[in-house]
């Protein structure tokens, strides 16, 4: 009889778990594959037959249409990459700077700053004052900074990071470091951060996703069509069509020759998601148990 490695599940349970995950994977990936499939299908077939996983009539028409605008797509990609890259790095630092004091149990103003942050999570002045702030006071209309600045500190991420820190960093570690004369900022970046890698990786991933997926800031602040993020560029077609459906009297007047078809909309979704699928494995390795660098010793 083969010896099972210490502390694994029984083969029966293991198989069951695999079945569960295979079903989950299929349920999650197949819809996306359908989107890809439709983007490679001939437009008229889609209208007649509906969505199918494997294109009945293969066609590159949708991508050829997108390729006409390849310069703009490239430019928007670049903008999204810059915004996401810069935004994630700065945001991670800001989040850590706020989460660390909240995690330090002997910080007397803990609750105050937690409430201070939490209120911004719940209350919102609305679009108008926000817009006025960014355009009239900060003069950031049409600036890339306007795409980065609004998301630099997300209360949800701060609270999650704080909870992670509370759970994985023992107080004794911090105390001993302080007794050795270390400054708080040294403790945070030299001692805490390496131990809280999964936390940083998670928040880093979420922030990347948030910046990459954002289209709203482009909608608000960019008025020339060149400097929009790739998501806005792709999504606005879909939203234009939604608008037309809900406002048929306007739709009737509109110059329709430039209105993309169903397959083009699918191709746009594919193009918009693309790079994230590549970026995700970079973060992923930090979630897998056992890879945590420098586990707590003694």
């Amino acid at each position: 009889m083969k010896r099972r490695a210490l502390n694994t599940v029984s083969p029966g349970a293991g198989a069951a778990i695999h079945v569960v995950f295979i079903l989950c994977t299929l349920a999650c990936v197949i819809p996306f594959l359908i989107v890809v499939g439709v983007s490679f299908t001939d437009e008229r077939i889609v209208m007649r037959v509906g969505y199918r996983l494997i294109p009945r009539v293969f066609s590159l028409q949708a991508y050829k249409f997108l390729a006409l605008d390849i310069q703009q797509i490239g430019r928007s990609y670049l903008i999204s990459i810059i915004v996401t890259g810069v935004g994630t790095v700065v945001s991670l630092i800001m989040t850590a700077l706020y989460a660390y004091p909240l995690f330090r149990k002997d910080f007397p103003y803990r609750r105050f700053f937690a409430v201070f942050l939490f209120i911004t999570m719940v209350f919102n002045g609305g679009l108008v004052p926000f817009y006025i702030l960014y355009t009239q006071y900060l003069h950031l209309k049409n600036s890339l900074i306007a795409l980065i600045l609004p998301y630099l500190l997300n209360p949800f991420y701060v609270i999650v990071m704080r909870t992670f820190l509370t759970g994985s960093i023992p107080d004794s570690l911090v105390e001993s470091a302080k007794l050795d004369g270390a400054r708080e900022i040294t403790v945070l970046f030299r001692i805490v951060a390496p131990l809280a890698l999964p936390a940083f990786a998670t928040i880093g991933l979420f922030t990347t996703l948030m910046y990459w997926n954002d289209w709203f800031m482009s909608l608000l602040f960019i008025s020339n069509r060149q400097n929009v993020s790739i998501q806005y560029y792709m999504l606005k077609t879909m939203q234009n069509i939604q608008f037309m459906l809900q406002n048929p009297s306007v739709a009737f007047k509109v110059n329709r020759s430039a209105m993309p078809s169903e397959t083009v909309r699918m191709a746009m979704a594919v193009v918009g998601i693309g790079p994230i699928v590549v970026a995700y494995p970079f973060f992923q390795k930090y979630f897998i148990q056992g890879l945590t660098v420098g586990a707590i010793k003694g």
């Binding site: 437009e43 209208m47 007649r48 108008v128 909608l219 234009n240 009297s249 306007v250 509109v254 110059n255």
Partner: protein
């Protein structure tokens, strides 16, 4: 004595030489200003070229540099409201009821143009119908100026000509000037029989049969309306009319017999796309004199238009394209001058619509143009909305369209039925709560009932709908609307 008189005469001459020229406004005496136009629609790639051309053309006339800012449909309503609320740079703004005009105007977003138009908008006054300008009023203030474009609207069925020719004769179908939907039934039945893969009638929730009458209805969930054929105008409960009930019954019949698409109450598909794919025989929508040619071209099938109503014209339709001067305009006089030129100057109009001659279009003689080689209409460098600017009648004719667009436009507008409510604008400030609730009631019941997907009479849903409308305050709304309408009619008769 003689010396003094001579001196006075010289002085007078000198003074006159200075004052008289100054009194006539020439561009040289106007300070330079940059005018920002905020328009709706997809931003054009070559907009900078057009800005430069417009500025070059208009500098000698009104000493203005022009910047055109366009915002795409999805974001238009939000953006224009933000621009108005934040007071950022804007000198001329497109507006219409579907982008918050009726709410923003009474709240001071736009300037009152009554005196401005008299001083600098003579061209507009001369080229507009009286009722056009009436539609831009709220009370006695002129907040926006409607543009001249296809103002009238008819409604009807588009039928695929090839199938019509094939099967029409077998049911003795005759094209008429005006038809009622049930007259199409035999035709639909034979199509269903002989062409099982083709849906005879494709309906969508916002354009159901009930809407195909002579109603002043633009938004999908407006609960009150006016019958434009009625020469004595009156607001009525749209859902409590014989026309609505008859449409409901016809729709139910068609649904049960499989003459329509199964998802008629929820469909998110575009009828033009459906027609393109060859899956449907007919659909119905608003129409005008260009519909047949335009939609035949868009769908790739020759279509024949069978109207259900004669063209109508109402305030709502006239308000569909308006320009206003926002409160933050830095030089309202100059904005009005620009607007005046937009209504009267053919060069300005065509620069805005078709772009610059050469890179964007080439002249073909007379009033006809065609797209330039590098300017493909399906992915254009510049090809803007033809209806959005001052005066569509001034447009060049595209070589792909029928000629003499201006005359056909005028004929169509003039052929429309109208009643004396034309020019009346309702102020909804006091009925906001009722409108909020009634919109939701209509959204809940109308599509399922008038699409025929349920037997609304038998299962009591229709009665429930009417009861809920009553409980939501429709009578109060009607009372307010009719009161304002009658007051306006009375005041207007005196004019």
């Amino acid at each position: 004595m003689k010396r003094t008189r001579r001196f006075l005469i010289c002085a007078a001459v000198v003074v006159l030489c200075i004052v008289v020229p100054a009194l006539s406004l020439t561009a040289q005496t106007l300070a330079p200003v940059t005018l920002k136009i905020i328009a709706c629609g997809p931003p054009q790639k070559d907009v900078q070229l057009v800005d430069d051309a417009l500025s070059a053309y208009l500098k000698p006339k009104i000493n203005a540099t022009i910047v055109l800012d366009q915002y795409d449909w999805d974001a238009w309503n939000d953006k224009v409201n933000l621009i108005l609320a934040s007071g950022e740079d804007a000198d001329l703004v497109f507006t219409a009821p579907w982008c918050s005009y009726t709410t923003n105007a009474p709240k001071g977003a736009f300037l009152d143009l009554t005196s401005l138009i008299k001083k600098y908008g003579q061209g507009i006054l001369n080229s507009s119908y009286k009722w056009t300008l009436d539609a831009g009023h709220m009370g006695d203030k002129l907040y926006a100026i409607p543009s001249n474009q296809i103002l009238a609207q008819s409604r009807g069925f588009r039928l695929r000509k090839d199938l019509l020719d094939k099967y029409g004769p077998s049911v003795n179908f005759k094209m008429k000037d005006i038809i009622t939907p049930d007259e199409l039934e035999p035709l639909f039945k034979v199509i269903k029989q002989k062409e099982p893969d083709v849906i005879p009638y494709f309906g969508i929730p916002s354009k159901l049969l009930s809407w195909l009458g002579p109603w002043d209805r633009q938004g999908q969930f407006e609960v009150t309306t006016m019958n434009i054929y009625d020469q004595v105008p009156k607001y009525i409960n749209f859902y409590d009319t014989d026309y609505y009930r008859k449409s409901m019954d016809i729709a139910r019949k068609w649904f049960l017999e499989g003459l329509t698409n199964q998802d008629i109450a929820t469909s998110q598909a575009d009828p033009i796309d459906m027609m393109k794919s060859g899956k449907i025989f007919s659909f119905s929508q608003e129409s005008n004199h260009l519909t047949q040619e335009v939609e035949s071209r868009q769908t790739g099938y020759t279509l024949v238009l069978q109207n259900v109503i004669k063209p109508i014209i109402s305030t709502n339709l006239v308000q569909g394209t308006m320009w206003a001067i926002p409160r933050q305009a830095k030089n309202p006089e100059r904005s009005m001058m620009l607007l005046n030129l937009m209504h009267t100057d053919k060069t300005v109009q065509n620069l805005l619509v078709y772009g610059v001659e050469g890179p964007h279009y080439v002249k073909k003689g007379g009033n006809v143009i065609s797209f330039a080689k590098g300017n493909d209409p399906s992915n254009p460098l510049y090809y803007n909305q033809v209806w959005e600017w001052g005066n569509q009648a001034m447009n060049y004719d595209l070589d792909t369209d029928a000629p003499n667009g201006a005359k056909r436009l005028a004929d169509f507008n003039n052929s429309a039925v109208r009643n004396s409510s034309l020019g009346f604008v309702y102020d909804a400030s006091n009925m906001k709560n009722e409108l909020s609730e009634l919109a939701n009631v209509a959204a809940e019941f109308d599509p399922q009932i008038s699409s025929g997907t349920i037997d609304a009479r038998a299962d009591g849903t229709y009665q429930k709908f009417l009861d809920k409308l009553k409980a939501g305050g429709i009578d109060k709304l009607l009372a307010d609307q009719n009161a304002q309408l009658n007051a306006w009619l009375a005041a207007n008769k005196k004019k």
